[in-house]
């Protein structure tokens, strides 16, 4: 039977060359590639024609040209004489800082809101629900505008302030606080900091291993705190107290234009930073709260009942039983919230917080290098997205349930 049929099938396969699904699929794909190639080619010719007509030279040469504009918040050296490339680098650092600080605070607030929503306390659960439902349904840009144009404008004026402990001050020019000044020998404290962290990591591993082997617990947190403080203090005094605090300087007399906070003394968070930070954190925390709630609800009720039956307190149940299991559900959507926060930080351009997009927009307006700037934006944001996804996926894999 097999021999006879084989010949028959062979005959049939030869019949329609074009009806072979494989051949067909390749034809479709080649057609698509040809079409896309034509599209890209025609865009390319159009672009070069249009640029020629506007007499704009393409290329990255503009990056080394003097920028000539000031940036209100810089994490590295920059002045008007610096290049466009330098300006974009400052913008990139500002984006990273906003993303980093925003992610940390949004996570903390989000977890608080998510847990509060499940609280057995009626009013706390209600407040968390209202917070989530209100904040989630109002556009982020509107919230940024609200904080920047309405809330922060209502602060005391330039020559006035609200103070806390006479150390932290708030007025319309921003949030002032003491800035650390690193004198010579500060590196010793830096080294001590690294040593202390290494020591704590080692201590934690040792304590965990001991608990695994002997079942004896070790007060890791208190010991870590002790190590941290003692090592840093010893290093600080050994190095001769190299780090000091520089307090903001508030002038109340003299020429009127000199009154208020002296520029460049102490640290200052600009109103742009505060507005964007508040809006991003509050907005993202509402989404994280929902994710956390869903994650915790996904843990079977028996788990918390069993933990209570073992005599664990509410706090321990949450920390040792519920959260570790909920994390597996929480992490993947949390990753996309972190990515969203990073991408949303680009709304900075609306209130002129000098992030990558805002600085890039200024450069674009001054030089007309639209293609280069847009390409730069996209490449950098794609790179940030990929890095965040990789880190979070690595973390996700490290806590994933390992099957036996």
């Amino acid at each position: 039977m097999a021999v006879q049929d084989a010949g028959h099938i062979d005959d049939q396969a030869k019949v329609a060359f074009f009806n072979d699904p494989k051949v067909r699929s390749w034809i479709y794909q080649i057609l698509l590639v040809v079409f896309l190639g034509w599209l890209i080619w025609s865009i390319k010719t159009n672009v070069s024609e249009n640029l020629e007509a506007q007499s704009i030279a393409t290329g990255w040469g503009f990056l080394s040209t003097t920028a000539g504009f000031a940036i209100i918040q810089k994490l590295a050296f920059y002045n008007e004489a610096s290049s466009y490339g330098r300006a974009l680098w400052i913008g990139f650092l500002n984006t990273l800082m906003m993303a980093f600080v925003g992610v940390i605070f949004a996570t903390i607030l989000g977890f608080i809101v998510g847990i509060a929503r499940l609280s057995s306390n009626w009013i706390i659960a209600r407040i968390a629900t209202v917070y989530i439902e209100v904040i989630r349904n109002i556009p982020l840009l509107l919230q940024i505008f609200f904080w920047y144009f309405a809330a922060l404008r209502a602060l005391p004026g330039k020559r006035d302030k609200i103070s806390l402990f006479d150390t932290f001050h708030l007025n319309i020019t921003g949030f002032k606080m003491p800035a650390p000044v690193f004198g010579p020998g500060s590196w010793i404290v830096g080294v001590a900091l690294i040593l202390a962290i290494a020591g704590i990591v080692y201590l934690r591993r040792w304590a965990k291993q001991r608990q695994m082997e002997k079942g004896e617990q070790f007060p890791v947190f208190r010991a870590s705190l002790g190590i941290f403080i003692i090592v840093l203090l010893i290093a600080y005094f050994l190095a001769g107290m190299p780090i000091s605090l520089e307090y903001p300087e508030f002038v109340t007399d003299g020429a009127i234009f000199k009154q208020g906070f002296t520029l460049g003394v102490g640290a200052n968070l600009t109103p742009e930073f505060i507005a964007l930070f508040l809006a991003l954190v509050i907005y993202t925390a509402a989404f994280i709260g929902e994710i956390v709630r869903a994650g915790i609800m996904a843990v079977a009720k028996g788990q918390s009942e069993a933990a209570h039956a073992l005599g664990l307190s509410n706090g321990f149940t949450l920390r040792l039983v519920i959260i570790p299991q909920a994390m597996r559900v929480i992490i993947p959507p949390l990753i996309s919230q972190y990515l969203n926060l990073t991408k949303n930080s680009s709304l900075a351009v609306a209130i002129a917080y000098p992030d990558l997009v805002a600085v890039g927009g200024t450069v674009l307006n001054q030089t007309g290098q639209a293609i280069e700037i847009v390409a730069l934006w996209m490449v950098i944001y794609l790179a940030i997205s990929i890095v965040i996804s990789l880190i979070m996926n690595w973390y996700n894999n490290s806590i994933a349930l390992v099957g036996r």
Binding site: A16, F18, N19, S25, W26, Y28, Q29, L32, V33, L36, S42, I43, N46, V47, E49, N50, L51, A53, S119, S120, N121, W122, I123, I124, R126, I127, E133, V134, R136, N137, I138, P139, L140, L141, L142, F145, F146, F149, A150, R153, K343, N344, S346, L347, V349, A350, V357, G361, L364, A370, I371, V374, W377, M378, Y381, L382, S385, I386
Partner: protein, 436 residues
Amino acid sequence: MAIYNKSEVAFVRDQMVGESPAPLSEVGIVGWAKKNLFSSIGSTILTLIGFYLAYLAITTVFNFAFTEAIWTGVDGNACKPPVAGEGACWPYIVAYLEQFIYGRYTISERWRVDVVYLIGAIGIAWLIYEGSPKRGLASILMLTAFPIVSLILLTGGNFDYSSTFIITCLVLAAVILGLAFVIPTLTKSNPIPTVISVASILGVIAFVLFLVSIDFGLPQVETSLWGGLLVTLVIAVVGIVVSLPFGIVLALGRQSNMPIIRIICIVFIEFWRGVPLITVLFMASVMLPLFMPKGVHVDNLLRAMIGVAFFASAYMAEVVRGGLQALPKGQYEGAQALGLNYWKMMGLIILPQALKLVIPAIVSTFIGLFKDTTLVSIVGLFDLLGQVQSSFSDAKWSSPVTSLTGYLFLAIVFWVFCFAMSRYSIYMEKKLDTGH
């Protein structure tokens, strides 16, 4: 264990005592409060803090919006400190309401916008109300006739086509028709049905192009005059209507077993998802004109719509992919075993189930898209947010509370739209949950 003789025991209960009512402290409001508000010291502290915060928030908002608010006035002076200045300035909203709804749309032609709003509202009500008849017809009308009618009403129709455009279209149509004839002939099947279906699609496109070129006697209204809620809704609806089919195609492409198509779809999706919308809008507004041949002008509003539609399609594709992946493999195999080809399998078996699974996620994508339309104000379009923001510079209504009032108004409008959509999605989720 001792054995008791009945006579030796003073009293043996042989009847159960009836249940006494629960203590007053455990039932009713008191019991509820004890359980939900004051169950422990920590909980009590939290309750007090919570009530205080809630009190603060509610009184602040209520005072601003009502008790301290100014309800009548002819200009900003009514809302300034000597008279007021602590509450909302509602007459400003009333004075600007028309502009917030229509932008600078020609005043004598605003009825056209109203007609579009009305048709849209009726159509949506028809679609979402379950008891209404012929909902299939409604969805077809809303996806075909409504966009065309809206386009004609809003712009005024009477489009002019350049001769190059007409020639290009004719050549393209001829090429496509030729392909539709040649490919089936080469594969030795009957070319007539393919040619007919392709020709009817081309015919519909030609008919639409013809319709919008008819002069209905409506004066033209430039899109640069559009603004306010109109722009917000137009961008959102276009984004939604384009992103759904486009997203489905991209999701299918991503799941396809043709390597090149799969790679192209993955790159497309991941690219748009990896970059912020604002850079996409910048790209659309500064780079799109460079992409076009000389002399082709792309309208500002159209640029933003293209950017938003691409962006939303990529997100929609991922949502649809979630649904496709959630279906058990047996569904695919079953469809193939019945001898269905790819498009029939997808259209009749897979997509109806997959889309049903992800309706809540689709609606949240729509909500996100609706909120994201506010970003077009950054690239110089006057959507609702941009329109309100621009009204703050009017000296006539300047007062310390103008901006807060404007933001409160915006927050209420956006919140109502988004909250309604999210409630509808929750309702659908419950309804479609067949509970396996």
